[in-house]
Amino acid sequence: MLMTKTSRRGRVSTSTGAAATRWLTVVVLAFLTTAGCKRSEPTGTEPAAAEAEPHAKRIGVTLLTVQHQFYQDLRAGLQEEADRHGYELLITTAEHDPSRQADQIDQFIVQQVDAIVICPCDSRSVGAGIVEANHAGIPVFTADIASRSPLGKVVTHIASDNKQGGRKAAELLAEALGEKGKVTILSHPEVASVMDRVAGFKEKLAEYPDIEIVAELSAGGKRDRAARVMEDLLQSHADLSGLFAINDDTALGALAAVEAAGKLEQISIVGYDATSEAREKIKTGAIYGDVIQHPRRIGRLTIGAIHDAFAGQSPPAVIPVEVGTFTRESG
């Protein structure tokens, strides 16, 4: 295209224009990289800097996502405990992509971290990455979601007892409904820990013969989708009386649909996690109650297990973290 120009003026303006744009790009790129790097500084290095130890242990973390409150709390717990021990955390997030998670694990291996924490995107496909870490002699810990791959060795898995959580949710909902009614589950079948919750829920609910599960649909754990699915459910099951939402984003999305339909009195909602927003709704009575996990605690215990492993002890294969409930009374 440029070859076709013949006038001298055109040529000159081309060269200066292109050069200018080129240099502009470079300058901005360089600026961005520096700016971005400076921005991130406050997250991990404050206490580490105080110690000024030349050989601070580095722990690579690959989270499932940073967009859920749960993981933000878990991350805060990790950071809190890491700061206490003077470990440096390298935190990344795979945002539900198992392939990206594998890349992040490879990256940690190249960076020769001292331990890796994984919150797997997929219980099966995380295995190949764990094998690589095993080969490199880096201990691997899983938090929240377990590896169910036949490949790879995990030192310790730290997670809530999700089945127990599901059972507690069933108890809460039965209590709210007076032990009878039609209920639905808004689930997220791609996630193993969620399926444990649903399994526990169904198991416990079977003990109440007058409660019937009329539907189980996926809302992908997301608020907007939950609202849409719930709108549909309200159309197809006008006599619905209860809902178990597998996390609070789902519960809050469904709540929006229930409120819009003016069925707040008719439908009792039980959520999971008791995020601050859900707590407010529980206090006003819009949500009946929540199962509480302790993500911060999971985070702290994970680093605790790593600390033990560094000290030469062997932490247990599984550290279950108790769940509780949060209702209007308890709040």
Binding site: M1, L2, M3, K5, T6, R8, G10, R11, S13, T14, S15, G17, A18, A19, T21, R22, T25, V26, V28, L29, A30, L32, T33, T34, G36, C37, R39, S40, T43, G44, V66, L90, I91, T93, E95, H96, D97, P98, S99, A102, D103, D106, Q107, V110, Q111, C121, D122, S123, R124, S125, V126, G127, A128, G129, V131, E132, S149, P150, L151, E190
Partner: protein
Amino acid sequence: MSKTHQQTARAASASSDRRAAARALAVMHWVVRLRMLVVLALLVVAVTILTDGDFAGPKNLINVARQISFEALIAFGMTLVIVTGGIDLSVGSLVALTGVVAAVVMQATLDWAAPVCILAGLLTGCGVGALSGTISGSVITRFSVPPFIVTLAAMLIARGFAFIACSGQTVYELPPGLILLGRGFVLESVLGKVLPVPVLIMLLGFVCFQILLSRTIFGRGVIAVGSNEEAARLAGIRVARTRLIVYVLTGALCGIVGVMQDAKLMAGDPKVGEMWELNVIAAVVVGGTSLFGGRGTIWGTLIGALIIGVLNNSLNLLHVEHFWQKVVLGLVILLAALLDAALRRLGRQ
């Protein structure tokens, strides 16, 4: 310089001036063509300095190359699609679908010899990808529906089928030898861990598509269709067929990458490839291919993929917050698009 020399020089000034002008123009042409290489080189230097040399470590570079190879391979096909003036949003979902279907086939044929089993998986993956490309391409050309909406639909359908094909459960019983395709190294016993197999596959793809686009009649046709469809038609190029083939090729590439992905994770996972279409399109556009069609190169795309890969890697090495990484990547893509627009304007002058 003597007087006579000056006179002869002046006498021949017209022709020599023209020659110099042509030379200057050729140099300019190369500078403009290589602008992205310059950006990449400066990026590498900046990142190496910022990471105290961590970035330039051989292990890291090999790792970056391997990470890039998956999306780069698809980006070569996407380049052809975009040069015809089209777009393919279904590539990420297709990687998941082809990967899962191939994994199901490999699981079913586990009793066979490993190479046969893996070959069966590869053929199935490519077949499913090419079939999907054929369907999208046919709908686009036969009914003249915009590629954006057709491939958007294909993206949803393929993602849905990826979960359906494995009932939502990741398929993880695969032949052990498969891992070589995703994590192996070429001639590891001789060369050591230098050239990852995915990188070799990507480079082979690069050579094929480079030749295809720049040295074949088909490649000329792709560019002609993208520059001026009507003129291409009048020149006797089979426009519909050309536009169909680019989608088929891209689909088949997704099939190969799907199996490589199976190998990397040693599992067929329906969740992989989320948002890949955007990374791939970004690599193509950053590499200087015009979204309006008619202009683009395969090697530009390779550099685009490298720029995005290096950025991703260095943002991780520098511990940049996830959300800031998005901001930086978005800005880089925006800058590339601006650069593209500026060059187009200059080209018209």
